[in-house]
Amino acid sequence: MKIAVLMKDVPDLVEELEVEDGALPLDDMSFVPSEWDDQALEEALLMKEEADVEVTAVAIDTGDVDNMLFTALAKGADRAVKLVGDFSRTLPNRLRARLFAQYCQAQAIDVVLTGVQAIDDLDGQIAGLVAGLTGRAHASVVRDVHIEGSQVTCVQEYSGGKMAEMQLAVPAVLGIQAARKPPRYVTIAKVRQIQKSATLEEVEAEAGTAPLVTVRRIYKPEAAGHAEMWGDDVDAVAESIVRLLEDKKLLRS
């Protein structure tokens, strides 16, 4: 059975986001794999431990995705594929989804895993878009994926902790909320080593057209409020907290 994990990298939220003229200077920012795509990869690797599957990590060449793909190989993915063409960092999700969908159809992928969402998918989540474009069975906000014959089972989360066990016939597309275990860690040395021995497969692709939306401006939302800040001295902060709790009568007498 063939599993593809669709991955993208997104700006690192740990860094200060500076908006310039209503847009993000993406070329100056540092990128990290989308956290939920990492979860999807981990789930695929766990599935590989219990069934006869081939795991391929797939990313679109919008800049520097090589490291992300080599890391996937170092973690245990069987193959890593880069969809190459004339793509920029600002490639909208609708076009990314088309590229991924074309690849999954052409390669007859059985189970597609990808993150349930990403921090930048303003025009739709990849899982749903790929499912819609390929007409495959799908479910999002899921975890605990297992292969059973020509079916996959998973748990779909509703709000408030309610959930459902589901079964989908392959080919299927799943938007992963979280892997069964935290994503595994590989050392930079191991990634370097893989980089020397393995290659990324390049597949030529063309984005084509899709219904897009126009962004007028990006900005930092006006905060409705802000905390009164106590500074960065641990003892002073602890003291302030105790005084606050005294004031509010929240201390046990």
Partner: protein, 318 residues
């Protein structure tokens, strides 16, 4: 604007608050341009729930396939409705159902989409939406093209107060060919403690770094007479049981005091705790969105603060 199609969700025999929010705004937008509001609803129970909803038409999908939520059945029904009615705007809530169906519906109907919408308004000739992106750190104002699918974050604006009497149309439920729902499970009730009943929550996030540090949170909670809760990654890592999770896919809490320790304040977390009476946030990143909902905050290391605070509280008690 022609028709606004709203995908309704029911809870305990009522339309959900999130659906009422969509109806209110959908009605305003439709009214301004002489358009209409259509609800798409599922299951026998929906009929009662939407009897006095402020919509012109309600299409109730009924049959074996909609006894519980099944993405395939719901999507087939919605796709048929969209095909048939050609709505100018399709609104879903950014719930599991909206996240599940919004994008696939948009893709299969070749309609544009705007996700994570927090505001939707008309400006001269254009329909505009604000989309919340980058974990709530940024917003984007987006032009919503005719025919778009928009998923709206629940709680973005007040729910509709007005009511109406929609004309009910029946639609037989499509069959599920590829997707089966085997079992629906209620939330794990209580677990070891019920965080929704605690007056004081010491809530830890990924900033905890290591499960061994949970001890520090336990000791602080003990000193405060509170209970330890957490953000989602702490549960996904297996450090605490799911019953302790606060947020969109966890519990909604409203304690007298909520300590957010090493929690960034992603929208999905805020959804579960923003109404706490008093929020104190500690995060080494001064730009963490949690400080926007907290009443008091500090940029210190939680691994230093927790023991220091515990010691002070214990010293005071002793």
């Amino acid at each position: 604007m022609g028709q606004v199609l709203i995908v309704a969700e029911c809870q305990d025999g009522r339309l959900s608050d999130a659906t009422q929010e969509l109806i209110g705004r959908g009605r305003e937008l439709a009214q301004a341009t002489g358009g209409t509001v259509t609800l798409a609803a599922f299951g026998e129970g929906a009929r009662d729930a939407l009897r006095d909803a402020d919509a012109d038409v309600a299409v109730v999908v009924n049959g074996d396939g909609v006894q519980q939520y099944n993405p395939e059945v719901y999507e087939e029904a919605l796709a048929a409705m969209v095909e048939d009615r050609q709505p100018a705007l399709v609104l879903l809530s950014n719930t599991t159902m909206g996240m599940d169906l919004g994008a696939s519906l948009a893709a299969r109907q070749a309609r544009p989409m705007v996700a994570y919408c927090t505001a939707l308004w008309r400006d001269d000739d254009a329909l505009l939406a604000t989309s919340q992106i980058y974990g709530g750190k940024l917003a984007a104002d987006v032009e919503v093209p005719d025919g778009a699918v928009v998923t709206v974050i629940p709680g973005s604006w007040p729910a509709a107060g007005s009511s109406g009497s929609p004309r009910i149309e029946e639609m037989p439920s499509p069959a599920a060919a590829h997707t089966r729902v085997l079992k629906v499970m209620e939330a794990e009730s209580g677990g070891d403690v019920d965080i929704t009943r605690a007056d004081i929550l010491v809530s830890v996030g990924r900033g905890l770094q290591d499960p061994d540090n949970l001890e520090l949170a336990d000791q602080l909670a003990e000193a405060l007479g509170g209970v330890v809760s957490c953000s989602r990654p702490v549960v996904d890592a297996g450090w605490l049981p799911r019953s302790r999770q606060v947020g969109k896919s966890g519990k909604t809490v409203k304690p007298k005091l909520y300590f957010a320790l090493g929690i960034s304040g992603a929208p999905e977390h805020l959804q579960g705790m923003k109404d706490a009476e008093l929020i104190v946030a500690v995060n080494s990143d001064e730009n963490a969105p949690i400080f926007e909902v907290a009443h008091y905050g500090a940029t210190v290391d939680i691994l230093d603060l927790m023991p220091a605070l515990t010691e002070r509280l214990e010293g005071r008690a002793g």
